[in-house]
Symmetry: C2
Subunit: 283 residues, 2 copies
């Protein structure tokens, strides 16, 4: 059994030292509960609501910068796998909204957000690689960031890649929703979990930043799409945990004759890979 955790914290925009301390505290709290896999929010190292590209540039770090180095040390010392978001300065100087997977001290993969939200394109270049699926010491862990999960193509690619669990560092800006309804961000993840029969661990943030509030919608979902912990749906720090058998995600059969992946009809899906054309009657 594996103890998976989503750590909902409040990064502070522009303050990498403070954020490193908050991530450290969050990891130590999770380790105290014997967490094996800990997911932290998008841009946990830098905060989100940058004033301008200069501010983003000032906090960006290379993959071998001090934050990821410290996270690697913590991952080794606390004996866990972690996924967390950071503001990456690429080798060529471009910035990316990235996350990293570290397995007991070893950086196993980075991922650069491929679908950028709103003003992010002022700061970041888009990634050009699909979501990685990493065969870790715990099982196969995929990762993607925030708006990426609104593209069911992308979550399906994680499923097709064999993910047992999809780790989602996110920062979900709060929007109005009908009373009593779950945040649609959570609903979309429920659908992704069930369509692919994989676990999902999503770590949202909290802490109003330059007027932007957040859903605080961290959640842990089972392969049937139902919550194992959360959703929080509140702006407060929180550690969610669930004890799971990650290998349960390898069972893709859902009836005597049905399998969520082999029942696909990829020979009929060519439209999905075509460049977008306006629909005939679009305004």
């Amino acid at each position: 059994m594996t103890l998976v955790a989503a750590s909902q914290i409040a990064p502070v925009v522009g303050d990498v030292i403070e954020n490193r301390a908050r991530v450290r505290a969050a990891l130590e709290e999770a380790a105290a509960q014997a967490a094996d896999l800990v997911v932290l929010p998008e841009l946990a190292q830098s905060g989100y609501v940058f004033k301008d590209v200069q501010e983003a540039r000032s906090v960006a770090e290379h993959l071998d910068g001090p934050s990821v180095r410290e996270w690697s040390d913590l991952s080794r010392r606390l004996q866990l796998v972690l996924v967390a978001g950071f503001c990456e300065r690429g080798p060529d100087g471009h910035l990316f909204n990235s996350c990293v997977l570290i397995d007991h001290g070893q950086v196993r993969a980075t991922y650069r957000k491929a679908h950028l939200w709103d003003r992010e394109s002022e700061f970041f270049s888009r990634g050009h690689e699909g979501p990685p699926v990493v065969d870790t010491s715990l099982g196969r862990v995929a990762m993607m960031i925030c708006y990426d999960v609104e593209f069911p193509e992308w979550t399906r690619m994680a499923g097709l890649g064999g993910a047992d669990v999809l780790a989602v560092p996110t920062n979900w800006p709060l929007e109005a929703r009908p009373e009593g309804e779950r945040p649609m961000e959570v609903v979309r993840l429920q659908a992704a979990a069930s369509a692919n029969r994989m676990f999902v661990v999503a770590a949202d943030r909290c802490g109003v930043e330059r007027g932007v509030a957040w859903v605080g919608g961290s959640v842990i979902l089972g392969p049937d799409g139902y919550p194992l912990a959360g959703p929080v749906a509140a702006e407060r720090e929180q550690l969610l945990t669930a004890r799971v058998n990650l290998h349960a995600a390898r069972t893709k059969t859902i009836s005597a004759s049905n399998h969520v992946l082999t029942d696909r009809r990829p020979e009929l899906y060519a439209l999905l890979t075509r460049a977008h054309e306006e629909s005939p009657a679009s305004p």
Copy 2:
């Protein structure tokens, strides 16, 4: 404005005369409320739980058979667009789990279920065409059937095809779910509606048939993914209606810089069209 309706009825397996009467009554009830678009369940003409292929064959009808002919007459007389499921005998004698779209008396499209559930492959051949998107007198209506919607590829194809509304004739067998949770079938449709910013009208069935009970999960969803009517989630006949501006589904922008279709990265989605390969570590 358009009044869309989902009619949850109880077809009787094998009794096409009775089913024709039930569909007629349902359409008249919807028309009495001035419905413009009415969606009826999967296999509304035949029932679902066939004993064997002989029974399925005995109730199958050609597209120009008596049921679709009567539905066309009703559609003309009641001045509405209808989508309903029937057991189709194809020109070559193969059976299909099909649905038809009839616009004020005119058969505009048929669709043959492409993803078959459980024992259906004993009775039916699979369709080989994507979901049609028909430019009707009301707006653009796409259709697909039941298990098809568990493939986010398929609902996306409807969205890419320009659907204002996705009509889903369905028969959802009842399965256990955690207390207080929505049926996952509805959750997946919510995600599909919001990912594609289209309306969804799903008509489930009721009426235990040979021991099979049903979710009774008919629902009408807005392009934000939230319910406008239902979900019923109970085994009883019910007519759901919602008055909507179908053209609202043509707005695909969700922020100053984001558009749910043009933000896609189709050049990165090639994996989706490849034949299935077992994941490296699958059991």
